[in-house]
Amino acid sequence: MSLDTVKHATGTPDVEQPWKELGLKEDEYARIREILGRRPTGAELAMYSVMWSEHCSYKSSKVHLRQFGEKVPENDAMLVGIGENAGVVDVGQGYAVTFKVESHNHPSYIEPYQGAATGVGGIVRDILAMGARPVAVVDPLRFGAAEHPDTKRVLPGVVAGIGGYGNCLGLPNIGGEVVFDECYQGNPLVNAGCIGVMKHEDIHLAKASGPGNKVILYGARTGGDGIGGVSVLASETFESTGPAKRPAVQVGDPFQEKLLIECTLEIFKEKLVAGIQDLGGAGLSCATSELASAGSGGMRVDLETVPLRDATLSPEEILMSESQERMCAVVEPQYVERFMEICEKWDVIATVIGEVTDGERLEIFWHGEQIVDVPPRTVAHEGPVYERPYARPSWQDALQADDAGKLPRPSTPQELRAQVLKLVGSPNQASKSWITDQYDRFVQGNTVLAQPEDAGMVRIDEESNLGVAMATDGNGRYAKLDPYAGAQLALAEAYRNVAASGAKPLAISDCLNFGSPEDPDVMWQFAEATRGLADGCLQLGTPVTGGNVSLYNQTGDTAIHPTPVVAVLGVIDDVTRRTPIAFAQEGQLLYLLGDTREEFGGSAWSQVIHDHLGGLPPRVDLDREKLLGEILISASRDGMIDAAHDLSDGGLVQAVVESCLRGGRGARLVVPDGLSAFTFLFSESAGRAVVAVPRSEELRFTDMCGARGLPATRIGVIDGESVELQGEFSVPLAELRQVHEATIPSLLA
């Protein structure tokens, strides 16, 4: 086939073009023709199709995401907000931290190992592109029912992929979650988060300014993998009978990425780049159009100079390829030689592929013939925006009316004991160490806390002991019952987890996983969840720094539970003051902080014992969350508590069992006045934590809670080799450990 140049396109307006196959709608294609004043060339069509995909353009979600920029809390920590590769916050002492969570859901279903591996690779490059050294990763995961055969197909590959890639990069994996629910069967959620650290002056942005500056592509050669990944995979519903989509999944090489990281950090150190962008979804189409539209001028690229793994690739394929481990830098001419030297040192291939021009167009040539001539903003930022119709689902009222409080409750101590064991051994509540032990949590030698702690924590300064913490949470069951409250509960839980570790929550990133935006029910869930999250962030004072939306997580008509995953980043001045979850000191007193109500809607108990989902999720009180957070942080800083564990799914009993097993000590508990043993153990009321208080600190601690108006109820003591509820039942730690730790290996190993 002859080359489809700009000149050729102008002269042949009536050529049939495969816009539909590339995932564009008819009116979108018409708009491209209108922008260009002619039909697009094949290369231009390729670029628009990937950049205007749901994944890259956020065309369905944009109108709702705007709230994150409008409802911004007063927070002087924000250095870089939404719109860059990742947001950046000030954590003090001249340090800045950048962090973000992204999804790699669809590729991970098709090809679990590579899908998950390249998910890690992509988020790490986003963080690197901001100028930061990546220091930790986290992985919030959702799979189908634990005993379903497809979970056994997908999960081991995903876990091995995350480990295989992340371990080889030398990034400690410090947190995340693993949740099973049949709604994720066929639509696993593989979200990946990364934290990076830099000094304020090292922040880099994705822009191409300064005519004459060189555009350098460096890293791996470009191959035929991942072509159309964003438009085909991430932006469409799976049809069970459709063709195999494997070629659209990228293949990762973590060794190459490790070299890319070290090479890029050395380049940053010598201040050699004027702008930088990683190549992820939409590959070169994205990098060139985003760099050019953020800069002052235009850009010219000679596409035949791109180093290829497969010499037969067409220009369209080169523009669309999502080959991993590539970066694009804009470099002043006098620095090019030194830039190349550093790349050579790290055995990284680097090629000047073009330069910044003083025009306003992105122009791409193929052996001297022009194949792209577009205004870059129309590709990168001025894609279609949809006001998708949405409406409260007709079934929502019936779902909420199906109150979990009416479910039969255990009536004898024996029954209560049996349900406790069933709960702590259920797949969602069981120990995940079989999974997390496949990730390196020690590398870099700065890990202070890692899973199964409430939050992961790494030290970022060895002299001052400054550290950062992160927790990710998202309960799809709560969000299904009430997406507005569900999103706020995800935020509240991650916030609480960070505070429980002793760190002060600063800002959030989110990964919004939903079904098809073309379904008004789903779009309503999305609208409610984003509204809830934006309102919640405003109230808690934690701005949204960036994030990711993953839509079309559904097979046929069945969407996943709405699953907003929230990552909260916190800072701690001195990591030696961190609070672990372990109950380790015999004789310390256990206090329950917060109010316990009859709240079982969406609870782990209702799922494990009754396979039930209905009613309302726990009540949200963000002022209470804030107060609880302040108390936990003060108590940690002033040495008033030795352990803290947030209460969430599974309620008090789950938290106590985890803390006892972690510390190797038992606990004797007493049911407080006014509560039934059942409600005490299994309620999932939000805004609560359990803490271990040394006897010498009891008065000081209770005085502080009293003065601040936070209910603190003494519920027991760390003691013995069992978890005992006085007058009801007792379970030896050994039995709890057996039940808690055997489940996951027996299902998956």
Partner: protein, 226 residues
């Protein structure tokens, strides 16, 4: 007077900065060594750190063994210079034939990361003199290819000569023969092990213990007193 201890960075080495930190915390002077340089910068001892040098492609440690820096390290080690190989570094040492045996993929085929109990079997090497024979220590372990194997005769020889330096206790995490976690050469200057002492040198960080610090204080004392 202190000692200069070098840490080699191969492409794909991950724990080089951790090892440099451990050297510094022990009180020695850390020196970065680069795989392309034959020059060891007058260091008194060398640490081959953990990671995935050259991506572990071909076989863990197989490519690094042919790097310029290893030419000098191998010569100097044979002449008595202390060398410690941790994890991937241990794999490089067996590939270099400075230590016998080889490492296979873990018997359960998964990467494994855990706090691991070890028994120090030989407290007379250059890197273990600060421990006592029979001492139990707990340090992180993290590997994919950590299953130590050798033929029966070699294993018997190692045992007879007291060259099994460390053994896994309570749990063998990778299927290593005779629970071997680390070995030494006959002269006691070259030691290799799979677990990571450099991750256990500070309270609160990693496992929260400092059981690994002894490796670095052992070598420092030996070099300073030499």
């Amino acid at each position: 007077m202190t000692a200069r201890i070098g840490v080699v960075t191969f492409p794909g080495t991950l724990d080089d900065r951790d090892s440099l930190r451990a050297v510094r915390i022990a009180g020695a002077e850390p020196v970065s060594l680069w795989h392309r340089d034959k020059d060891l910068k007058q260091v008194d001892a060398v640490v081959l750190a953990g990671g995935f040098s050259y991506g572990d492609y071909l076989r863990a440690g197989a490519i690094s063994r042919f790097s310029p820096v290893m030419e000098t390290v191998i010569d100097q080690a044979k002449a008595g210079m202390p060398v410690l190989g941790i994890c991937n570094g241990f794999q490089v040492l067996t590939e270099s034939h400075l230590l016998p045996g080889a490492m296979l993929r873990n018997n359960h085929l998964h990467f494994i990361c855990r706090e691991q109990k070890l028994r120090v079997e030989n407290a007379e090497t250059a890197w273990t003199a600060d421990y006592t024979a029979g001492q139990e220590i707990s340090i992180p372990l993290k590997n994919m290819d950590g299953r130590y194997v050798a033929d029966e005769r070699t294993l018997d020889e190692l045992e007879a000569e007291g060259r099994v330096a460390f053994r896994y206790l309570d749990f063998n995490p990778n299927g290593s023969l005779r629970d071997i976690a680390g070995i030494t050469n006959a002269a006691g200057n070259v030691v290799g092990l799979m677990p990571h002492p450099e991750h256990a040198v500070e309270p609160l960080i990693g496992t929260g213990g400092t059981d690994g610090l002894g490796f670095f204080t052992s070598i420092l004392k030996k070099l300073v007193n030499a």
